[in-house]
């Protein structure tokens, strides 16, 4: 099993990047359709980071964000986390619910707003997983998404804690979504469990 991510070769990293690319490409399309807006994404970054450095990826541990998190079980278990700044998330809710622009109050979200965010997360994450499943021929069974609205660091450490027992580093496939090429809409993370990397890579014929 891969515990030490530094063992990965350049080619394997390229393949992981491609997986991130396919998954987030599909998720970006789903988001664009939901919002009826042009969503750009960068080439996904494959980062192998100590836990302490992960919050910096999204703009610091203090940043107020909405986190949508789900666990995919199956032959290659992984976690998926979609983080977006609270103000952006509220605009998405406005759009989804057909409310006036800026109407959703981040400090006072209604049950309906929560449901809308959950649904948004569900669609984006499921699209990502679907693309992954088609590409790897593996089955990924998503859990019901969980929703957290708070400091980015707080949300990340709740997610990262489950990797803490086996690793000091986490492999993160990160994609940045942008609207109209500038405004950051969100960050997408795929966090494969250590044993899952072997399964994913083997399914694509590049086993370790």
């Amino acid at each position: 099993m891969v515990y030490d991510f530094s063992e990965l070769s350049g080619m394997q990293l390229d393949i992981l990047r491609e997986i991130g690319n396919i998954g987030s490409g599909n998720a970006a399309t789903a988001l664009a359709q939901l919002l009826n807006a042009k969503i750009d994404m960068n080439v996904p970054q494959v980062n192998i980071l100590p836990f302490a450095e992960v919050p910096a990826l999204v703009g610091g541990a203090d940043l107020h964000v909405v986190g949508l998190f789900l666990v995919a079980t199956g032959s290659a278990p992984a976690s998926i986390l979609f983080l977006l700044p609270v103000d952006k998330a509220c605009l998405l809710v406005d759009m989804l619910m057909g409310k006036e622009w800026g109407k959703t109050d981040p400090t006072n979200l209604s049950d309906m707003d929560f449901s809308a965010l959950m649904e948004l997360g569900n669609i984006i994450c499921a699209t990502y997983l679907n693309a992954l499943a088609v590409f790897t021929q593996l089955d990924f069974r998503p859990s019901v998404p969980a929703l957290g609205i708070d400091m980015a660091g707080a949300i990340l450490n709740a997610v990262l804690a489950q990797f803490g027992a086996v690793a000091d580093h986490v492999l993160v496939l990160e994609t940045e979504f942008k609207r109209d090429e500038q405004e950051i809409v969100g960050h997408f993370f795929l966090l494969p469990e250590p044993g899952s990397l072997d399964v994913i890579l083997a399914s694509l014929g590049v086993s370790l």
Partner: protein, 161 residues
Amino acid sequence: MSKIIQVGMADYKMATAPDKLITAGLGSCIGICLYDKVIKLGSLTHIMLPSSSQAKNASNEAKFADTGIKLAIREMEKNGAQASRLLAKIAGGAQMFKFSGESDIMKIGERNSVAVKENLQLHRIKLLSSDTGGNYGRTIIFDPETGDLLVKTIGHGERII
């Protein structure tokens, strides 16, 4: 000039007054502040998990409640603190996600705070105050000069414990 020293996730740092220690975005993790008020030496350990005993990789002591507290005591003693004078304040251990269904990871915050309290007791360190639980994140700043622990949140106020 006083500094504010950053402590990351699964990290440990020490500071002498007037310097302060900060850790941002505690979720299910817990920030354990120990201090010796005679020499105004403080430490902040940002633990992620309750116990190193179930871990496949326990090389980073600051990651676990049990080894994190031992590490802090050992390092502080090296710098002139006396274990018998150490006092503790803790914050964090929240449950960050609204979840339907049950999952172990959702209870990590609670397990962390139980483990931290048990380990403090084991080392006979008095827990002066704590701010744990809830479903929100915390940023904490610890001042070894006064022993004040400032807890900041989003939407759940600010307090000194």
